[in-house]
């Protein structure tokens, strides 16, 4: 991959963020003027448990290079245990993505609480960097 290519291409990340923790955390990152990844395109859901694997596959299909799911820390879920389901879904989805020939690292599950604006910022930056290393996800028809 050439250097010029690296500069012109930037990954597209779809992030599903739970309303109570990570979405608020992302908000905090903004209010705190922290630099987070501009590659992230956020979709708010009430709970990370709402994220249907269909959405993740759809995002990849439509051109996302990475998908991030952000929820409350385990034990801190606003809906007491929604994030446990997310955890298991992401685990199975990763097995599936691996079989699909898509690097499972392109799917990230992160627990970011409402107070962790800095974690949101550096996690998204880190994810962006990782996707840059993985390169664009070019699906074969």
């Amino acid at each position: 991959m050439s250097t010029t290519k690296e500069k012109s291409w930037s990954p597209r990340i779809v992030a599903f963020l739970c309303n109570w923790c990570t979405y608020t955390g992302a908000d905090l990152a903004g209010v705190s003027r922290l630099k987070s990844s501009p590659s992230v395109r956020v979709i708010r859901t009430m709970c990370s448990g709402r994220v249907d694997p269909t959405f993740v596959l759809k995002a990849f299909k439509l051109g996302a290079d990475g998908v991030m799911i952000g929820g409350c820390h385990i034990g801190d879920c606003h809906y007491s245990e929604g994030n446990f389901k997310t955890l298991r879904r992401v685990e199975m989805l990763k097995i599936l993505l691996d079989q699909y020939g898509i690097d499972p690292r392109r799917l990230r599950l992160e627990w970011i609480s409402a107070s962790e604006g800095d974690k949101y910022a550096h996690t998204t930056l880190d994810f962006e960097q990782q996707l840059r290393e993985l390169g664009p996800l070019q699906l074969t028809e």
Partner: protein, 589 residues
Amino acid sequence: MITVNIDGKDIQVAEETTIVKAAESAGIWIPTMCYSELFEPYGICRLCSVEIIRGKRTRIVTACNYPLRENGLKIRTNSPVIQEIRKVLIELMLSRWPNVPVVKNMAASLGVIEPKFVSLERDEAEDACILCGMCVNICRDVVKANILGFANRGIKREVVLPYEKMNSECIVCGACAYVCPTGHIKIKSLDYERGAVADWYLGPKTAINIPTLQAVPRVPKIDEESCIKTQTGGCGICSTYCEPEAINYEDKDEEVEIEVGQILLATGFQLIDLKQMPQYGYGRLDNVYSSLEFEHMLNSTGPTGGLVKCKDGSEPRAVGIIHCIGSRDENYHKYCSRVCCMYALKFAHLVKDRTKAEVYQFYIDMRAFGKGYEEFYKRLLDEGVNMIRGKVAEIAEVHSGSDGKPYLLVKCEDTLIGKFREIALDMVILCPAIEPQFDAADVKKIFSISQSPDKFFLERHPKLDPISTMTDGVFIAGCAQGPKDIPDSVAQASAAAARMLSLISLGEVALDPVKAEVVDEYCSGCRICNNLCPYGAISFVDDKKISNINEMLCKGCGTCVAACPASAITGKGFTDMQILSEIEGLLSI
């Protein structure tokens, strides 16, 4: 009732009354040494011996434990025979314990100056044990801990603990020391020698106390941990003294369920534990106080009556007030605790007012941000308070003073003159950081709210909505939300109250329309979703063989919507269609 005759006086008493009590009611003194109303009479000192005359027969009995049961009994409490007996008894005691005040006084009141006996066990101590047994009795009958007992016989008799060892059955109530007539039994504090200050802060240590004089409501309470009754089932003395019968030992803490529509969390703060910063010597050095302790000292109803005094009772010559202990400190809390600067100035003012001491303020930045605060700061400067801008590195105790009195040496950097300084002080007041309550994380979970990075409760919006939380109906006020002073707390709490009242006056609340719903036509009753709902909103309808969601219980998280393999559950506001369209839109550019 029966009538008896004591020393020629006819008196009426209830049956079973002891002679001592009967005599007391008639105003007749009978000497006693081992007697107390608190426990069963023991009759060991024999000083209360009296004569009872039944017809022609005369008997000598101990008055403390002789119950009166028959009419017409004659009693002589001071006959020559009795006087002689008492003299011999007290002479015997005096010969053994010549310096014990209660023995000497009793001997004097019985007309004995010098004993005519010589004791083999003569004990010169003023606080010798006179084997009265009161400690043994109170421990057995009142405290019911039953820990003290007599061992050996004759002149070798002594009061001992089981195996003569400290025993966990002893509840350290101190009743034995209280009742001991000679002071032989002492309570020794094993606490750190700083007991006095601890007492100021914690209030008196009796089992029944009024926490502070400003307590609301100002009524005494029983401290379960030190009450003998709750520990052994004994004692109960207080209830016999309380005429309105207000004491109820059975009263217990109870959990009461109250249904409410809104909740205001004003759970406050705690102060940082100063002992984790050993360089300041808190808890180790005398005259190093926390601001709260000092506030207690300044209180006119406090332990010193509001006077500023060192531990030895002297007035301090110089007082230092150190700001930002744990606040604005990378090692503890990065935030400013906001209230310290102003109360530190108040302390300085009051110390100036009440003593001749020099006052030093050690500060990082002076934050006099409120209404009238800056003016107060200016006034303090005029009063001649020494302001030193710099952090204190260490406080050490130094014993080299000219008068031999130890003083505190405060080592700090004065950043305004750019010099390292050591300042000798008699008293140091530390301003500890305001922290979230230790259980804030638990409270957060209970109410499904969030904490900000500093662990105080997170408001919905830092500027536009600092009183409500992300959970509808849960509001926050005061230091639970972040450090703030009284006016700010009052303002926030009033705002929260007003917000809650406005909802109450509306009479109804608008519920979030985000709910999940089962579309019957598509549900086949696979029951995948049945286990998923943490609120139990999903149930299986047996006759229709499909699942159903109770809309009132549903909180709209959408977990079941995602899980439904037939997509028979739709999540209003977050339908598959809506989210898929969002994805499409986001990735179209």
